[in-house]
């Protein structure tokens, strides 16, 4: 296997290709749009979605090789590329991956074709523009996972923002303008301060005479800031990432954005864009400022916010009348687990956090797709408008049940593995936080099972629901990979864990946490 990859030089071009391909696709779509501007709507839609699916499909297929081609144990960046960009300012096009990034890149590339299938019939207005934006968004997201230059990272970070703003603002629901503006402003608020911090870091690293240095490896190893400076810089990064995660109390843009976004927007937002925040912590905020991040006050504040978010998100989920909002708040809860896991700084909890990242991407993505499916049929997301539809949509009911169970974290599904590892790891360093967070397994069951009951169980009392059609082959086909992933990661997560292990362990070591501590039992006194 390895030799095939070596023979075609896979690692030398794959990352660049992954970044360029979507942009090319977007260009093709825009060109098509000009040609189709006069013809009828149905033809426009089908040409747009077919082109988009083609590009996303190719993107997904070529990316899969990363799973095998990369050396996960190596401390060097894999598949790295360095090209000069703005040399006089010390800015380079520098990309590369490690185990954590590969897993997230594959999550992205594999989910995108499914989101295209998910919006196959629901995007009728300006389909070319929609899919073109989705493609540009993909480049932005993949770029964030790959960047090894702070400025390049910032460029990709902002590149994600605009397409998503437009997707919500143009193809969204009734309050789309409010939601998209809120999304934009929240994100900007954090990221502008991060830009300031990046510039400061670059100039500091470059010294008084030389050009600034934004190379990731340099700034993470040489940066020696005074305690105060480090705290301020960490604060700037923290704000940018905390908004994106989103951590309590920076989360209120999320429910609005999710509710108003079209299905594809919600899926991308929940499954991938939220991961940017946690990825940012792992890749940038923590390695750049290990002393600030492990400062007891900072650490306990972050963990407190994470735990508050976990419990708070679950409690607020319980009382949501809108299914999408319910899932949005449950995201706040799940992402709190990720932050808790990262900031507990043990191997188990960090790897668990990375698992929760992926699991949340899969389960919540699937939930939004399922919501999109019934929304297309009934044009409502209010839980109270449904009831008893397991009778008329049995396959939908089975799928929704499986995905909900995964989100609840029932063992055997992926959700359990992540939460369990986070909690068992976090318990070693933050026992109280872990115990409080563990109560969420109760609330999660309450809010999801209650919603499940009111949607698919109970009497089929509303006549509008009696005529609902069950899922068609396209919808089943796009859910099956997600269901398969749910069970695969639940039953045999070792391949993923092995791939993220080295990177996670490096982080934990750097943060002075508990990497592979040998447990020594001290006999307690009576």
């Amino acid at each position: 296997m390895q030799s095939i990859f070596d023979a075609i030089g896979y690692n030398s071009w794959i990352l660049t290709l992954l970044l360029v391909l979507p942009i090319v696709g977007a260009g093709v779509l825009i060109a098509q749009a000009q040609r189709h501007s006069s013809s009828d709507g149905a033809a426009t839609m089908s040409s747009a979605r077919r082109t988009a699916l083609l590009f996303f499909g190719v993107e997904c297929l070529v990316s899969i090789g990363l799973w095998w081609s990369v050396d996960y144990e190596s401390t060097a960046w894999q598949a790295a590329v360095t090209l000069p960009w703005i040399e006089s300012w010390g800015i380079f096009f520098r990309i590369g991956v490690d185990g954590i990034a590969v897993v997230l890149i594959l999550l992205t590339t594999c989910l995108m074709p499914l989101t295209v299938l998910g919006s196959w019939t629901s995007i009728r207005e300006k389909p070319h523009a929609f899919y073109a934006l989705l493609l540009v968004l993909t480049t932005g997201m993949l770029g964030v996972f790959m960047s090894l230059d702070l400025v390049l990272f910032y460029v990709f970070w902002e590149l994600m923002l605009v397409p998503m703003y437009l997707i919500i603002g143009i193809w969204g629901g009734k309050r789309r303008l409010y939601a998209s503006l809120k999304f934009f402003l929240f994100t900007m608020l954090g990221s502008l301060l991060m830009l300031v911090a990046i510039v400061y870091i670059g100039i500091e690293a470059g010294g008084l005479n030389g050009p600034p240095i934004f190379d990731y490896d340099v700034v993470t190893t040489t940066g020696a800031y005074s305690y105060n400076t480090a705290l301020w810089l960490f604060g700037a990064f923290f704000l940018a990432f905390a908004v994106k995660v989103p951590m309590f109390p920076f989360h209120t843009w999320l429910p609005d954005a999710h509710v108003e976004a079209p299905t594809a927007g919600s899926v991308v937002l929940a499954s991938i864009m939220l991961k940017m925040g946690t990825f940012g912590f792992v890749r940038f905020a923590l390695p750049l400022f290990p002393y600030a991040a492990t400062h007891p006050a900072v650490k306990s504040a972050v963990i407190t916010l994470a735990v508050v978010g976990i419990v708070y998100g679950a409690l607020v989920s319980m009382v949501q009348p809108d299914f999408k909002k319910l899932v949005a708040y449950s995201s706040v809860s799940h992402m709190g687990f990720v932050i808790l896991g990262i900031f507990a700084f043990t191997t188990q909890s960090v790897q668990g956090a990375l698992m929760v990242n992926i699991n949340h991407g899969i389960s919540t993505g699937a939930l939004f797709l399922l919501i999109g499916m019934i929304y297309e049929r009934r044009h409502t997301r209010m839980i109270a408008d449904f009831g008893g539809i397991a009778k008329v949509m049995p396959i939908f009911a089975v799928m929704l049940t499986i995905v909900a169970l995964s989100s609840i974290g029932v063992p055997g599904t992926n959700g359990f593995v992540g939460e369990f590892l986070v909690l068992i790891g976090a318990f070693r360093t933050e026992p109280i936080a872990a115990v409080i967070a563990a109560t969420v397994i109760i609330f999660a069951a309450v809010y999801l099972l209650w919603a499940l009951q009111r949607i698919i169980y109970n009497p089929l009392s509303k006549p509008e629901n009696a005529a609902l059609k069950d899922l068609n082959w396209r919808e089943i086909g796009l859910l099956v990979p997600l269901i398969a992933a749910i069970f695969w990661l639940g039953l045999y997560p070792a391949p993923v864990l092995n791939r993220t292990h080295a990177a996670a362990n490096r982080l934990v070591e750097r943060m002075g946490g508990m990497p592979e501590a040998n447990i020594t039992v001290v006999p307690e006194r009576r």
């Binding site: 043990t346 191997t347 029932v410 169980y457 362990n505 447990i519």
Partner: protein, 736 residues
């Protein structure tokens, strides 16, 4: 761990993973059939015309009324003979078939185990499940005396109940779905008992909870059923929280979650230390949820909304006993934590008595049995709590026999009642209310006979199974009150021996009440005049052989189950069988822990033991006599003619209002706080309105202020220019 090759390694034991795999295969097949049938409704499929599958054993009183309330047009054609599911044939073979195979394999394993000398469990590792740093969690199965006993009970009783279900569920529209869930349940239950570490056990633990959820809400179109399923799952999750925290603590302090390694390293804990006590108490929280003890018992009575065979299998014989199993499995820890053990015993004793009081005044035949189950589970916890692990497991086994028999018997009765009401189109009377039964002895002689055997067994009348196991628990409790580590500890300011005497008295009182309510149930159901109604009466009949057959087997087991573990005091008197075979069988697993709890002196003289046995028998007989004396045939009236209960009776009928109290104290406040304080107050109010929109409003306000200067009036501008010029001049003048 195991340097030498385990004696079981070359035997059939290496196929141990087939035990859970077989039911899983059954689940896959039945599940696929179910989905296929509902996605592509064929002409013969009852669900095609929206038929709701309302049939036998269908819910309680409330459910039947519900049926009337919202009849959406399909309620009345259920008088037509319901066609069987089109895959009923395959399902009837696959569903019980995989259980027969599993049971066969279990027997083979049992035979193999008997042939070898086993000092350590046989562990079969399938693959590395969660290898993370120093945490190694394997998907591994463990075979030892304890898991073997459980496997035999699960597959044996499970097989009988599967066969029974073939008859009971035959007309249901969800027939393959039912068997899919049932097979899945057996899979998870086997995983639970076979797991070689806490995590695999936890997978089974949650999995059986999931199946319980799915099966309680099997007839999900009724809100009450769906509610009950959800309640069961959520309450169980409260317990699961405890289980998880216990696992975290074990890993943090011992660095492993494997049973074998934990047993080795448990000695690192100081006896009676805080950590081990906390671990045990958290584990016990899990058991309290799963096994429906105070304060988390409320889900089990509601769980009776599921089909009756489900109640027999899950909510009586197997799943609810998982808590007892878990404590026996963790005996090495519990034996180091006397305070935790005393808590277990006390909670068990209180639950046994409390549930029995409620059982006295229930009218739904399944509810009586549900409270009886809670009460009997309390006994088992007393057993494992006082360190008599064998006694607890022994009662678990005998209880599985006689309670499964009682539930299946009740199922037959309900089946007959429902058929009779169905035939006469009676929707107003409740097929599960004992006040509508009476005199069924005449119509269902086989069921009557067998249920009396079970009643005598549960009441503790010798020589039936329950007598031996219950007596062993009470005897052990009495014995441990002196000279054991428990007696030296203290709980709630009381000395351990006081606590144990209290538990013992509670146990005796519960035994009295058990005899009373069980006799009452039998009298109401089978004796006296029939109250079913004149037109329905001719339709009452015994269930088909596929249902009575399993009853017969269970009847035999309930009668002779006591021979599994005959006490020495009896075999000394009359050599009727081997002494304490179960105790020998479990010796490698719990022997050390039992000895640790018992200490040196926890034994009673033979004469005292004989006295205790006599007391227990007297109490059982007395209870039955009281019930017999108080419930004369003339006192048994139909539901429509019964006067409303008053005073304490009413409190008991309403289950001490525990559900209402929980609702008012926990459920409602949580929802209210979440809705108005957290969502309305913090999210919408504080963050969104005040901070987010507030900062926007502030910005807009400053903008407005600025815009006010921009009046468009040239005169104002001129004034401003002049004022500004004067101020500037002043400033310059000062500088100069």
């Amino acid at each position: 761990m195991m340097q030498s090759v385990h004696p079981l390694a070359e035997t059939v034991a290496r196929f141990v993973w087939w035990l859970p795999a077989l039911p899983l295969i059954g689940f896959v097949i039945n599940g696929a059939l179910s989905i296929y049938a509902s996605a592509k409704p064929g002409p013969a499929d009852p669900s095609a015309n929206g038929h709701d599958g309302s049939n036998i054993g269908h819910g309680s009183h409330a459910t039947d009324e519900g049926n009337h309330g919202h009849d959406d047009g399909d309620g009345h054609d259920d008088h037509a003979p319901t066609p069987r599911h089109r895959f009923a044939g395959i399902t009837s073979i696959v569903g019980p078939g995989v259980l027969v195979l599993t049971f066969g394999l279990a027997i083979a394993l049992f035979v193999a185990m008997r042939g070898v000398e086993m000092h350590e469990p046989f562990v079969s590792t399938l693959f590395a499940w969660m290898p993370v740093g120093d945490l190694h969690i394997n998907a591994a199965l463990q075979l030892d005396g304890l898991s073997m006993v459980m496997v035999l009970v699960i597959t044996g009783v499970g097989m009988l109940i599967h066969v029974f279900s073939v008859g009971y569920m035959q007309d249901d529209a969800g027939y393959p779905r039912y068997f899919a869930y049932l097979n899945l349940f057996v899979f998870f239950m086997l995983l639970l008992v076979l797991g070689a570490n806490y995590v695999v056990t936890f997978v089974g633990w949650e999995g059986v909870g999931l199946c319980s959820y799915l099966l309680i809400g099997f007839w999900f179109s009724e809100k009450a059923n769906a509610d009950a399923g959800k309640k069961a799952f959520v309450v169980n999750r409260i317990g699961d929280f405890g289980f998880m925290v216990a696992m975290f603590m074990l890993f943090a302090h011992l660095g492993t979650l494997d049973y074998a390694t934990i047993a080795e390293r448990a000695g690192q804990f100081a006896p009676g230390g805080v950590v081990v006590t906390a671990i045990c108490l958290f584990l016990f929280l899990g058991c309290v949820g799963k096994s429906a003890q105070i304060p988390l018992f409320v889900w089990l009575p509601d769980a009776m909304a599921g089909p009756t065979p489900v109640s027999a299998l899950i909510h009586a014989a197997t799943m609810v006993t998982a808590g007892v199993f878990l404590i026996a499995r963790s005996a090495s820890l519990f034996s180091l934590a006397p305070v935790a053990s005393l808590t277990v015993a006390l909670v068990g004793g209180v639950t046994a008595l409390f549930a029995a009081t409620i059982g006295l005044k229930q009218w739904d035949i399944k509810k009586v049995l549900a409270y009886s189950t809670i009460s009997q589970l309390g006994y088992m916890f007393v057993g494992v709590g006082v360190g008599a692990y064998t006694a607890g497991i022994f009662h678990l086994v005998t209880h599985a026999f006689f309670k499964a028999l009682l539930f299946l018997g009740a199922g037959s009765v309900i089946y007959a009642m429902h058929k009779a009401y169905h035939a006469t189109r009676n929707h107003s009377d409740d097929a599960q209310d004992m006040r509508n039964m009476g005199g069924l002895k005449k119509f269902m002689p086989v069921t009557w006979t067998l249920m009396w055997i079970a009643t005598l067994a549960i009441a503790g009348v010798p020589p039936f199974a329950g007598f031996f196991s219950k007596d062993e628990i009470l005897g052990a409790t009495f014995a441990r009150a002196h000279g054991s580590t428990l007696a030296d500890a203290s709980l709630l300011g009381m000395s351990g021996s006081t606590v144990l005497y209290i538990v013992w008295v509670f146990g005796l009182a519960a035994a009295l009440l058990t005899a009373i309510y069980m006799t009452r149930m039998m009298l109401y159901t089978f004796h006296g005049p029939n109250r079913t109604g004149d037109d329905a009466r001719p339709h009452l009949a015994e269930a088909p052989w596929v249902m009575t057959g399993p009853l017969l087997v269970l009847g035999v087991l309930s009668a002779i189950g006591g021979w599994l573990n005959l006490p020495g005091v009896i075999t000394d008197l009359a050599p009727i069988g081997p002494t304490a075979s179960l105790e020998h069988w479990l010796e490698p697993v719990v022997g050390e822990a039992t000895a640790r709890v018992a200490g040196g002196g926890a034994h009673v003289a033979v004469s005292t033991e004989a006295l205790l046995i006599g007391l227990a028998v007297a109490i059982a007989i007395a209870g039955m006599a009281i019930a017999w004396a108080r419930l004369k045939p003339s006192a048994l009236v139909a539901k429509s003619a019964a006067a409303p209960a008053t005073g304490i009776q009413r409190v008991l009928e309403n289950k001490w209002y525990v559900d209402e109290a929980y609702d008012a104290a926990i459920v409602k406040p949580t929802f209210a706080v979440s809705k108005s304080v957290l969502w309305g107050g913090v999210d919408v109010g504080l963050i969104d309105t005040l901070l987010v929109n507030g900062s926007a409003a502030l910005t807009r306000f400053f903008g407005w202020m600025g815009s006010q200067l921009q009046s468009g009036r040239v005169g104002t501008y001129a004034w401003l220019i002049v004022i500004g010029a004067v101020l500037l001049l002043r400033a310059f003048a000062r500088v100069a």
